[in-house]
């Protein structure tokens, strides 16, 4: 019995690890490749009539960060007659709107709108849908209110969409601006670099898909309209949108030339709330699509849905099972027959973890440092393990919500 359970947990864990290994290899290859197209694409951009672009910045009481965000927007390199930066004030009770109005006065291509009626106070999806209704640019670019994109970020996003007609959306890279502030942001920094170079770049390389994140991405208005906007029930509106877009038959390109910097939670409490929302959001998405996994038009999406299913259901279950067996085995003799190979596998898993992270870190400037190396090792035993608790917590919340049939409530991440 113990043996069967152990086999199950090992199988689940290693499907996940091998898949990540495969993604890491894809990510590396994407890194070697993605820049090669830029000279050609640049040439085309310079010799064409550029499309009109709307930048959406959904904001709910963001006066702590909005000034620097809008400053960064004012510096975006794009013809100003083609660009409209729209600050969407959703139910703001602080100075957000006033700060936005000042910028709008200084920069004619900026505009502040306020959500109304049924759109008001419902969360990010709803705010974006409102802005979608109020504007008409050919491309839509979304930035979170805490983002400071680099000057060329928007240019690259548009460049991608203009040159890659099969892509419905262009996803840029985000970096952590407050990486050095606390131990938590150091971990998050490593984590986000990893996530982007493995999961995003890797999946684009192998499957031509990347998850549309909440920020720093461009999408064609035609697609958004075809899909009927964002799903207001989804806490992870990004994952949800990704699957629907991909299912239309388009690519979603990860184009790391477009870079934005964003704030990450500096305290555990804020991190916990933000990640709980993500986890619950993704669990919602998995449950929404897993039943239709074989009826989806794009067969490759099954990989992605299964990936999420593993991440938010099976993998943590496997890890917990394995941990429980380990502890029980210390106390009782449960006659686990597996011998040295289990130990060797564990070593392999650890080495894999370390090398994968090292590769992604060494892609970025000044990231593969001795300090970060120590953090990686420390992370394996701490930060990575927190994930297990978080997923269980999110799952219980989600189950409770489904039993009580409540609607999702949006939690806005606190800024620093």
């Amino acid at each position: 019995m113990a043996d069967i359970l152990f086999h199950i947990s090992l199988t689940v864990i290693w499907i996940m690890l091998l898949y990540h290994m495969f993604l890491a290899q894809g990510g590396y290859r994407h890194f070697k490749r993605f820049e090669k197209v830029i000279p050609d694409w640049q040439h085309k951009m310079e010799n064409m009539d550029l499309p009109t672009v709307n930048v959406f910045i959904p904001a709910h009481n963001e006066d702590v960060v909005i000034k620097q965000t809008l400053t960064a927007m004012s510096r975006l390199e794009y013809p100003k007659d083609k660009l409209k930066v729209i600050l969407i004030c959703d139910n703001c009770s602080d100075q957000t709107k006033e700060i936005g109005d000042q910028f709008a006065a200084d920069f004619p291509f900026m505009k502040v709108i306020e959500t109304e009626d049924e759109y008001k106070g419902k969360g990010k999806s709803s705010a974006l849908n409102y802005a979608l209704k109020e504007t008409n640019g050919e491309f839509i670019v979304v930035y979170d209110a805490d983002n400071t994109p680099q000057r060329k970020a928007l240019w690259y996003l548009v460049m991608g969409l203009v040159n890659d007609p099969r892509a419905a959306a262009m996803v840029g890279k985000f970096r952590v601006i407050n990486a050095k502030n606390t131990w938590l942001t150091k971990f998050i920094n490593i984590e986000t670099i990893c996530f982007q170079w493995m999961a995003q770049a890797g999946r684009f390389h192998w499957f031509k898909i990347a998850t549309i994140p909440g920020t720093n991405f461009a999408i064609r208005r035609s697609i958004m309209e075809k899909l009927g906007g964002w799903d207001t029930k989804a806490l992870a509106e990004d994952t949800e949108l990704t699957i629907r877009v991909y299912n239309l038959g388009y690519h979603i390109r990860f184009f790391p030339a477009a870079i934005t910097w964003e704030q990450e939670p500096e305290t555990l409490k804020v991190w916990w709330k933000q990640r709980t929302r993500w986890a619950r959001g993704n669990q919602y998405v998995v449950l929404k699509f897993i039943g239709r996994i074989f009826s989806m038009k794009q067969k490759k999406i099954a990989f992605d849905i299964m990936y999420f299913f593993f991440t938010y259901f099976l993998f943590f279950f496997g890890v917990i099972l394995s941990n429980v067996l380990f502890v029980v085995n210390l106390i009782f003799d449960i006659q686990l027959s597996i011998g040295n190979v289990a130990f060797v596998l564990w070593i392999m898993a650890f080495l894999l973890f370390v090398t994968e992270i090292m590769i992604t870190l060494s892609i970025e400037k000044n990231q593969l440092t001795l300090k970060n190396m120590l953090y990686i090792i420390f992370m394996y035993f701490t930060y990575s393990q927190m994930w297990i608790v978080l997923v269980i917590y999110a799952l219980t919340l989600e189950v409770k919500r489904m039993i009580k049939k409540e609607d999702q409530v949006w939690y806005k991440t606190e800024r620093f």
């Binding site: 190979v341 392999m348 994968e356 400037k365």
Partner: protein, 573 residues
Amino acid sequence: MIYKKNYFILMLFVLFFANAGNLSATIDTHSLDQRDVTLIYHEPDELAQANVYFLDSTLSGLFQHVQVMELDKLDKSDIAKADIVMIYLPKAIDEEKLSIFEDVSGMVVGIGAGATTLPAFTGWQFNKDIIIDQLDETYLTYPESVVVVEDPEPEQVEVVAEGRRFDKTYQVIVKNEEQGFIGLDSLLADGEEVISRIIFDLLDIEKPSTHPAYIRLEDISPVSDPKLVQEAGNYLLDRGIPVYLATIPVFVDSNSGVQVTLEERPELLKVLQELVDKGAYIISHGYTHSYRYSETGEGFEFWDTELNQPITTVDQHEHPVKLKSVDEFSNLQAYETYIAQFKEIEQEYVEMKLENSVHYLTKIGLAPIAFEAPHYTMSSNGYRVTSNYFSAIFGQIQASDVNWELMVAPMFISRPSVLHGMTLYPETIGYVNDTAYTDPITVMEQRIEEVLEVPGSVLGGFYHPYLGIEYLEEMVRLLEQVPNLEWIDLSQSDNHVKTDLVEVTTSGGDIEVQQLAPFPKEKKNWLNKIEEAPFEFALWVIVVVTALFIGLFTIHLSTLRLRYRKRLFRERA
């Protein structure tokens, strides 16, 4: 010249006696009683069958000619010439059936309540309502109901064994010139020893003066500690005690199914080969010591302990089904047709295991000269198949085909008919059991004393080398104290182990190994390993794949570092 000749005769003399001494310790046909004995039983239930096995093995250890027959198949001519007719009838039967015994010329020995109506006991008076708690001065584990003889009275018969309760005594086993009577329905447990002891008086058998003895080093498998095996083996050899190594060539991890062979343990193999070179004997103790892969702990190779039934599958991954019992059939014939197919499977299985064991052991230079079933468990069909390969078997006899726990251990080296000609070297004194007893040596000492009360009884015991040598020294000390003890040396008597490919024979102190045909080529070892533990193999594949990727990632990493400066420079530009 004369001196030389005398010397030669003296040498001959010495050799002859040395041999004679050894021979007496094996089953020496010349020392057996030459009278004809017929043992008769009738429609035995499980317990009665076990009694028949016990009587059969005890008689065959004392008499040269023993015939065992079912009453319904008995012909008058079968008993006409018999010197002793022993009739075991624990239950009353139709008196008409007993008329066949009307004019038996030899001695009639009746056993059990059913035997009271035998013609030989016409005029005798029995009382069947007596309970005793002592028999022949031995306290019984539980008070037992017996049949006692009331008439003839003590003056007219010889009381061989008396029963006792409180201050009353009863005639339980009696004899006179032409008759003998044993008032027990079952001779097992407490009765075994008493019967073995009194049978000499009951049947006027000459009492042997010596006790044959052996010590088996038990359960030597690929996971045994070579040092401890070596120590124990050498200790016995140094004292001139024959060494019997009950060897299992393959160890199967009961959980993972992973197999380890003796060849994969070169250190142990070398130790065993050295011991054999010095004169130790190998006993084939099965092939893997297990049947099902799911068995935990020590397996029972030739008996399905989970279902408590004979082996029913050849493929060990196949799930065995519970055999139907005889009650589920309308008649015996239907049952026997049903069971016959399983007996064929069992035969195939036993043949495979025995051949594997003999061939493997012979191939690595450890040719076996006898067999011992793991935990002594095997069905009568199994014994029949085994007798095609071996002539000597160690241990005890499983006395039932439906329950392995019913074991019979005769006190003498014997050839019961259930063994189809094989000679049994019985285990009578157990083993040093340090988990059950705080003072296992005293326990063994008491046991030896009990066994020694039986004239000519075998002192057969075994020892686990993993216990270290201290207990072994004690065990040897106990045995060496016994006067007239003769160590059994199997190579002195005629024995054989035979398959289609090899033949091992012993005679006059020599062991001859003959290869009759080449061994078939083995499957490649790693292919075996996959079959044994496919999951573990898959895990090793993952290890290799992961290692390759880690290597690849390290290369990526180095390229990234090498081009790092160049990249930074370009980014700045």
